[in-house]
């Protein structure tokens, strides 16, 4: 609500307290005036990107499940009971680059939650039996995701676009690796030992709190956590040399999909490339783009057009996806998408449209921050990249600076045939 004085022109309008413990753990506290509620987001800077060994895809996510299996002091049943007493909403998620554990609760339970979380991050303890049972829940998660062609599309796009980097596999992991998970108990202990360490962790606390009190509580319960030694070596992806493509025959009726991707840069809050691609994603493919107008509203040949330029620690993909109403239109739609990419290389964009996109981004961000849990969730995503809320202000300052000429230069750099991957999907036998 009312941001701190002097911070009003910043994209992230809240004053925050950033504090490093001696063991390498970082704490970021953000007091807000949304009453009573506190959100704690614990960001572990390891995700499926860290799954470097063959046969271990999906392990970061599996490990997220194991973190709910308890410790000696707080066995699973007691952990659950404490959360229930606190009326807490608690969950976790894993992405390529991070694993995030989040709990939202009433402010009087802050110490209880911080203490219990500190215990499981330091003293997680689970039996082989529990481990093997939980592996089945992960398979259940794969099963529920498998109903949609999107999981398969993600698997094939990554496997086609990447050769060496671990972005080659999805966070969920390959099905054969998931099926083998029950046999990987020893590796799971090693995974915990490597990454569940203070130097890999940032705690975000947002809500009805006093940052000084939060510091003291975190020092008390997390100060004794031992620093680790492991350094992840993520294989670098060699430059792509030629365009690639793949097709998926889907086993049941569906509309065809076409997905066009170009290799993009890593997240940066100092270089213009990634933020410029963000702007292009809206200019070229959002609901107000000429392509959307043509395909979705006028000729109505596509019923869903979506674009993604996700922020990743390492270089990832800029993608545009269309669900096409008729099989015979797929090639033409693909060519329309490619022509839109080319148009950004051929001429600078209209300055007024660029201004509208910048306005959209700024208001969209402001509208997201409508409660403490949402602020913490947003921070967790950025903290996962640069470990500080300041990165948000830097990125939004970069957006402000981008000119039509920047857009053209960045388009020419990334929208090249040799960086392209196209994946299509259609129902088996579709004509």
């Amino acid at each position: 609500m009312a941001p701190a004085a002097g911070a009003a022109d910043k994209a992230f309008p809240y004053a925050y307290d950033q504090y490093d413990l001696a063991n390498g753990l970082r704490l970021i506290s953000v007091p807000t005036d949304f009453p009573n509620v506190v959100s704690v987001y614990i960001v572990v800077h390891a995700g499926s990107r860290n799954e470097v060994e063959p046969g271990k895809s999906g392990f970061a996510h599996f490990f997220e499940h194991m973190m709910f299996r308890g410790t000696r002091r707080y066995p699973k049943e007691r952990y659950e009971a404490v959360l229930r007493e606190a009326g807490a909403a608690s969950n976790a998620y894993t992405t390529d680059d991070r694993t995030v554990y989040h709990t939202t609760f009433s402010k009087e339970d802050l110490e209880t939650i911080l203490e219990m979380e500190a215990d499981r991050f330091q003293n997680l303890d689970y039996s082989v039996e529990d481990f093997r049972t939980e592996a089945l829940a992960v398979l259940g998660e794969y099963n529920k995701n498998a109903a949609s062609p999107l999981l398969k599309l993600h698997e094939v796009l990554r496997a086609t676009a990447f050769d060496r980097h671990t972005y080659k596999h999805t966070t969920m992991g390959f099905l054969e690796d998931i099926k083998d998970m029950p046999n990987q108990y020893a590796y799971s202990r090693q995974f915990f030992d490597r990454y569940y360490r203070p130097e890999y962790t940032t705690i975000v606390v947002v809500g009805d709190v006093d940052p000084k009190a939060v510091r003291a509580l975190v020092e008390k319960h997390w100060g004794g956590w031992k620093r680790g030694t492991y350094q992840a070596r993520i294989p670098a992806e060699a430059p792509q040399r030629a365009p690639r493509s793949a097709h998926i025959d889907w086993h049941s009726p569906t509309l065809p999909w076409v997905w066009v991707a170009f290799k993009g840069p890593a997240y940066s809050d100092t270089e213009k490339d990634q933020v410029t691609l963000d702007l292009i994603s809206f200019l070229g493919f959002s609901e107000t783009s000429p392509l959307y107008k043509k395909l979705v509203l006028e000729e109505q040949s596509v019923d869903s057009l979506s674009v993604a330029n996700p922020d990743r620690v390492d270089p990832y993909l800029f993608t545009v996806m269309a669900r096409v109403k008729k099989q015979q239109d797929v090639d033409r739609i693909r060519d329309e998408i490619l022509a839109t990419f080319r148009s950004f290389c051929d001429q600078p964009v209209d300055a007024a449209r660029l201004k509208a996109v910048k306005s959209h981004l700024r208001y969209r961000f402001a509208l997201e921050l409508d409660n403490s849990a949402a602020i913490a969730a947003t921070l967790a995503a950025y903290v996962g990249l640069r470990r500080t809320p300041e990165t948000i202000n830097r990125v939004y300052e970069l957006y402000r600076q981008i000119t039509p000429e920047d857009v053209q230069a960045v388009a020419r750099k990334y929208f090249v045939d040799s960086g392209r991957t196209i994946v299509t999907l259609s129902a088996r036998g579709a004509k």
Partner: protein, 495 residues
């Protein structure tokens, strides 16, 4: 089960003096730089005419995602874009909601558009064509093709309410959607979008005179008659009715349920809400069913129960408001299980339900669930927009502010009341079981045979659990072959 609503009576008592007097408002002013709109019409899929299932939904879609008499939809998108706002719509059986959040910087500009969209619709043929196809693709591809869990849930409602005004999907049926014309849309709008059915909700940092202005603007709608106050009871269910939706899939998704005559404000609402918090609160690992099925046995990704309609549950942790209904069902959601353990998983869920009915909730668990709910209810209302949505629902049900209603009610609630309510409303017979599966005939034979379904695990289990499994594997579901119907997925929601 006949239900009447306090709200409709209150509306009938209002006089007709100044313009907009029939229009009710819910106002939650605050210091936020954001302004939330929730504009609710008390109409929905239950008001779809026979043969035009989906008309309510398509009408709302035309307003929220179509042009006005002055502007094309593209022009509206272009106007909205720099403000990063959009008008969302939600159509349920009794409520149609248009919602939006805008920054106070853009309030005037946004409201001018919103007013035009809701009060001066364009009814363009090209919008109808696009939105009709979008809706049909939603039913055929997104729901039937790509989302087995939501499909099982929606088919459950469909079967329970067969022959009832609630007996079709909110988005309609394909054949009916193909018949809907612009004239149908205009007629529906004229008849249903009236002042008597309108609730204007506002929250956040809007100017003081803003609600009065909205009321004046919306007074151009016809006065209209109040929304219906009663709905017939759904037909009785005989025995255990099984519907197997056959489609190509890796796993088996289940939904189980039956109608309950309990809604917010009824004496048994809070007892059943507490039961839900104990037995299977949505997407949390703290419920008994989750613990027994996933944590201890690894059968699937999760298992939950509901006493109110909760669509889109796989995508969100908290329910959307403004899905208020005078009638609800009790529902168990079993997330996809491996085909080999499907029979056992179904048995375990009903075994647990049976135990809950017979033995009730243990006293310590009752106290814990009560403390949980009293605090958790705050989290449901953590945004101004959610608070606004719940306030509108409170007006509908004639209940106090939701968090207060729950907290106050919990204070005096006793374990005996809860266990008695469980015995009154829950059962393991006379219900529907819906499954989405690749091998319907084989599953049908298994279920009808009542043959044991022994469990094998990939790790040793405690002796108590193994002993219990021996009983669960033989637990009689009471399914007769004649009560099982296999439905090819291509037929679902077609007509």
């Amino acid at each position: 089960m006949r239900t009447s609503l306090v709200l409709a009576m209150a509306a009938a008592m209002l006089g007709c003096g100044r313009p907009g007097d029939r229009i009710r408002t819910v106002e939650l002013p605050g210091a936020s730089p954001l302004v939330s709109f929730r504009i609710v019409f008390l109409t929905g899929a239950a008001s779809d005419p026979e043969g035009k299932q989906g008309l309510a939904n398509l009408t709302a879609a035309m307003l929220a995602q179509g042009g006005t008499s002055r502007r094309s939809y593209q022009e509206i998108l272009d106007e909205m874009f720099p403000m990063a706002t959009e008008v969302r719509y939600q159509v349920d059986k009794e409520m149609t909601t248009f919602s939006a959040v805008t920054h106070v910087d853009n309030l005037e500009r946004f409201y001018a558009l919103l007013r035009e969209m809701l009060l001066e619709p364009g009814w363009r043929e090209e919008d109808l064509k696009r939105l009709r196809e979008q809706t049909i693709n939603f039913l055929r591809v997104s729901l039937r093709g790509n989302n087995e869990e939501e499909l099982a849930k929606e088919v459950l409602y469909h079967e329970i309410y067969r022959g009832h005004p609630y007996g079709h999907h909110n988005a309609g049926a394909v054949a009916a959607l193909e018949r809907i014309t612009r004239a149908d849309l205009e007629r529906f709008y004229k008849e249903q979008y009236t002042q008597s059915r309108l609730i204007l909700g506002l929250a956040g940092g809007y100017p003081k005179d803003f609600p009065a202005r909205l009321k004046r603007d919306f007074a151009r709608l016809a006065p209209g008659a109040p929304a219906p106050v009663e709905r017939p009871a759904p037909a009785d269910i005989e025995g255990v009715q099984v519907r197997l939706i056959e489609k190509q899939t890796r796993s088996v998704a289940f939904s189980i349920g039956f109608p309950i005559s309990v809604k917010r404000g009824d004496p048994d609402y809070l007892p059943l809400l507490l039961m839900q918090a104990y037995f299977g609160p949505h997407r949390t690992s703290g419920g008994r069913l989750f613990r027994r099925m996933r944590t201890e046995r690894g059968l699937n990704y999760g298992d939950y129960v509901y006493i109110e309609y909760f669509p889109r549950g796989m995508f969100q942790l908290e329910p959307d408001p403004n899905l208020a209904r005078p009638q609800q069902i009790f529902q168990i959601w079993i997330r996809p299980v491996e085909p080999a353990t499907a029979h056992f998983a179904l048995r375990l869920a009903l075994w647990e339900l049976d135990k809950l009915i017979r033995e009730g909730i243990p006293p310590d668990e009752f106290e814990q669930a009560r403390r949980y709910l009293a605090k958790y209810v705050n989290l449901l209302l953590k945004t101004k927009d959610a608070e606004l949505g719940y306030a509108i629902d409170s007006l509908y049900y004639g209940t106090p502010q939701y968090a207060e209603y729950v907290r106050e009610g919990l204070k005096t609630l006793t374990l005996d009341q809860v266990n008695a309510a469980i015995r009154r409303h829950l059962r393991t017979r006379d219900l529907y079981i819906v499954a989405v599966t690749a091998e319907a005939a084989a599953l049908a034979d298994r279920l009808a045979s009542e043959a044991p379904s022994p469990m094998r695990y990939n790790a040793p289990k405690p002796p108590e659990l193994v002993a219990e499994d021996k009983q669960v594997e033989r637990f009689r579901l009471g399914i007769e072959r004649a009560q099982i119907r296999i439905i090819p997925v291509e037929e679902v929601f077609e007509r």
